[in-house]
């Protein structure tokens, strides 16, 4: 299994509070991704990174920001959490941008009350 660790695994917080999720990899892969999974939607890309300090938006990026200061860490921040951001968040990594599978962490279940 790819060495991907997401933390925390579960979090409950209140509307309006900031939240940061962490993805840590030990594979030295260049590309990292954040997805959210919601019923009826599959997985949707929030943000991705193609190198240290190089990030770009995905299809559902509103309300989220990311940072990547080291190859191994990719952080997802909800500046002011809303109930619509209650979801399961998955981090993924890949060694190439195309024609290679992405490998996923085990997810963070985030509940915003």
């Amino acid at each position: 299994d790819a060495g991907i660790t997401q933390s925390p695994r579960h979090k409950v917080t209140e509307t309006g509070t900031p939240v940061t999720l962490r993805c840590h990899q030990t594979e030295n892969h260049r590309y990292m991704y954040w997805y959210r999974q919601d019923p009826g939607h599959g997985l949707r890309l929030i943000h991705y990174s193609y190198g240290v300090k190089d990030t770009d938006k995905g299809e559902v990026s509103d309300g989220y920001s990311v940072s990547r200061s080291k190859t191994e860490d990719f952080l997802l921040t909800l500046e002011s959490a809303t109930s619509s951001q209650t979801s399961v968040y998955f981090c993924a990594i890949s060694s190439q941008l195309s024609n290679q599978p992405q490998h996923f962490g085990d997810g963070t279940r985030l509940s915003i009350l």
């Binding site: 991704y33 997985l43 890309l45 890949s94 195309s98 992405q102 997810g107």
Partner: protein
Amino acid sequence: DQQVKQNSPSLSVQEGRISILNCDYTNSMFDYFLWYKKYPAEGPTFLISISSIKDKNEDGRFTVFLNKSAKHLSLHIVPSQPGDSAVYFCAANRAYNAGGTSYGKLTFGQGTILTVHP
């Protein structure tokens, strides 16, 4: 705009029989397709993939078929086992965007819950 669709939310199969999971896509620029399996409380696990230059790829009990003219792919599992019970996602990747730079983002279907009965 759902570019990748799995129209069957669930599928129930008897152990030993074939499971066929289907996926349709609309974007003709997709050129790499993948299937993932997901168990509860775990992340998706890569299962099998196929490039658009092929129409079939086989790995043990799993075979993926791609019909580009119909924009359709399917995953066949033969024989099905109770341990195959999971949610299956198809995903599509576009290698290059219109500007010629590599794109590489995965677009997922909604998932199909497969249940294999003993």
